[in-house]
Amino acid sequence: MSGESLNILLVEDNEDHAELIQRSFRENQVANKIYWVKDGEEALDYLFQRGAYTDNTSRLSPHLILLDLRLPKVDGIEVLKAIKTDDKLKTIPVVVLTSSESEKDIRKVYKYYANSYLVKPIDFQQFTMLMRDLGFYWLGWNKHPFSAWELPGTQ
């Protein structure tokens, strides 16, 4: 993998799924750092330097956002909309990772400029394979539009 430090912002309300995702990444040495937020509101606070994150200067500037759709408080679509309508944030690739296979969700997600839509596989083997491929593709093969990328308010 590249020597550059690559960060993932994981937006996932299910603690077990978050653990599974992080474990898969760790075991495949995919990402350097993963930051996990548990609902849509926290994701927006993190990205827009609000709420509990107003004075947090240790935030990581994510190179990839992994977004679940069914989230408490503010749902995934709203988070996606906020990201893709913000001039600075919209260049960050957003990969929707959800258990929903609904056509409606897929259409809606691409309508708001998500970069990818992935369904969480039920099978563990497939789940880890997907996490590995996802990491390799988005953080390895894929070229990012930013070199010295920083979120506003980070050091």
């Binding site: 299910n14 077990d16 799924h17 069914r70 296979e101 596989p121 039920i122 789940f127």
Partner: protein, 521 residues
């Protein structure tokens, strides 16, 4: 004296006139006589008319004798010789015996002559005129009889038209649909059938009233949704039927409407509307739509929320294998816990889903329920939980009773009290208050109030959604409040939440029927 009178009298006469003695001597003649005979009056005087006529002297004498003896004018005929040799003229004559004046020694005769030729022409002309008159009179009579027929026919047609119009009105009046006719320019109502008058609660015929004032409510001018423009083409000719659906603003009923411009009996192009009441259909459509949306939400939520624990279980089962291989027993233990928890969650979820699916169908007959008793029973059931959380629950005594499916409403009470304690946050002494209050509209609302974490206004709607949780760490399934709302909805009540925001506690209010009848459908 007589001779002067004659001159005066006959001077302007068109007929030749002579004043003659009983023997035929011309005493006087007028200008017309001179003209007729081509000789001056002075040349005629003193001459005997027998010299001047071609008629035999005996005949002349006889005529004169008859004139003298008669009191009436005596008609006769004379043939005069004119000054032009060979030219003679035939005349009709009238001879009058004049009264003898004192200055005359013998009776005198007045002879008036009219040229036979002229008289003939006059008769011919007269005859012609008479004939013409007769013909035109005939024509006139024929024409007027024709006109009379036409008028009769027209009246007949008019009568038939009026009759069929009347029949149409009778038919329209009997229809089980709103029918009205209005002028397209003035919007004046020209006809409303009985059904329409009843549907709009009109007293009287409504004719002459303005359609947008009578048929709709709160319109300040012709309705913005008026279809008049769609019923006629650019030349103002009727274009056919326009069909639409609309909820009337006057009586809130839904109608399937057919509008059409037609020519009215008085020749005006008017708007006719026929509208059938589809309120029932519309209502069931709305209910169906709502049910479909609910079902869609339900399937969506189910597919997501039931899938999640399976992913967890399968994921950590897979993880267990590598834990065993690597000998990481600590992680193994935590993974097994996760698997067990996910399986438990699935079970709770399935139970809740089953419960929810029963709600829609299974409503026990309504009975009187004391809300104070219902709250106290819920507290008894939750005693262990309340004690564990060190919570205090107070219940208002003698709350107004309700007529409900008692079993379900006890569930509501229990759910709300349990939630109030569950989301007490870091509160050392969670306090829950169950009570009732009278709303502004006079309705009684029951409430469950806590001093817990509170809810921000933006989440007021979301918390009642199926599988919606505000706290990702809570062990709830997100069905509890959806279930509560469903039960209250089924009773025709309302449920809502009020909170002064995060950390300030929240109050859940709900209303329920307080009379027997409210639950019957």
């Amino acid at each position: 004296m007589l001779r002067q009178c004659f001159d005066e009298f006959t001077r302007l006469f068109a007929h030749a006139c002579f004043l003659i003695s009983p023997t035929g001597i011309i005493l006087r003649s007028n200008a017309a006589a001179a003209q007729m005979l081509g000789q001056g009056g002075d040349l005629l005087a003193g001459r005997n008319i027998t010299e001047l006529t071609a008629t035999p002297a005996g005949t002349v004498g006889h005529y004169l004798k008859r004139c003298l003896q008669s009191r009436e004018p005596v008609p006769g005929g004379l043939r005069w010789r004119t000054a032009i040799p060979g030219r003679e003229v035939d005349c009709y004559c009238h001879g009058y015996r004049l009264l003898i004046s004192p200055d005359e020694k013998e009776p005198v005769l007045l002879l008036r002559c009219q040229l036979r030729e002229q008289a003939g022409n006059s008769f011919a002309a007269l005859n012609q005129t008479l004939e013409n008159l007769r013909v035109s009179h005939h024509k006139l009579i024929r024409k007027s009889s024709q006109l009379a027929n036409e008028i009769l026919e027209r009246e007949e047609v008019q009568k038939k038209l009026a009759e069929s119009h009347e029949r149409l009105m009778t038919v329209l009046d009997g229809l089980d649909a709103v029918v009205y006719v209005a002028d397209m320019q003035t919007h004046e109502l020209m006809f409303l059938n009985k059904y329409a008058r009843d549907a709009l609660g009109l007293i009287g015929s409504g004719v002459g009233q303005i359609c947008w004032q009578t048929i709709q409510k709160d319109q300040t001018g012709p309705c913005s949704f008026c279809t008049n423009q769609r019923l006629v083409d650019a030349e103002g000719n009727p274009t056919g039927v326009y069909r639409w659906e609309f909820q009337n603003t006057q009586n809130d009923c839904w109608y399937d409407i057919r509008d059409r411009a037609i020519r009215w009996i008085d020749g005006r192009v008017v708007r006719m509307e026929i509208a059938t009441d589809i309120t029932k259909r519309k209502k069931s459509e709305q209910v169906l739509e709502q049910k479909n949306a609910e079902l869609e939400n339900f399937t969506y939520a189910i597919s997501h929320d039931l899938k999640s624990p399976i992913i967890t279980i399968k994921g950590f089962l897979g993880s267990l294998v590598s834990d065993a291989r690597s000998g990481d027993f600590e992680r193994m233990e935590s993974d097994v816990k996760r698997i067990a928890k996910a399986a438990d969650k699935m079970q709770v979820l399935l139970d809740d889903v089953l419960e929810l699916s029963r709600i829609g169908r299974l409503v026990n007959p309504s009975a009187e329920l004391s809300m104070t008793e219902a709250a106290n029973e819920a507290i008894e059931d939750l005693a262990a939980f309340i004690k564990a959380k060190n919570a205090v629950v107070t219940v208002e005594a003698n709350m107004p009773p309700v007529f409900v499916d008692c079993h379900r409403i006890r569930e509501v009470m229990q759910n709300l009290i349990e939630n109030a304690i569950k989301y007490s946050g870091s509160q050392a002494e969670p306090r829950v208050e169950v009570g009732s209050k009278v709303l502004a509209d006079g309705q009684c609302a029951y409430f469950v109030k806590d001093n817990g974490i509170g809810i921000e206004p933006k989440f007021y709607g979301k918390i009642f959604g199926l599988f919606e949780k505000l706290d990702p760490h809570s062990d709830g399934t997100g069905i509890g409040l959806a279930l509560v709302k469903r039960i209250v909805d089924l009773h025709g009540g309302k449920i809502w939440v009020e909170s002064s925001g995060h950390g300030n506690g929240s109050t859940f209010y709900f209303t329920l029927p307080q009379q027997q009848s409210a639950l019957e459908d």
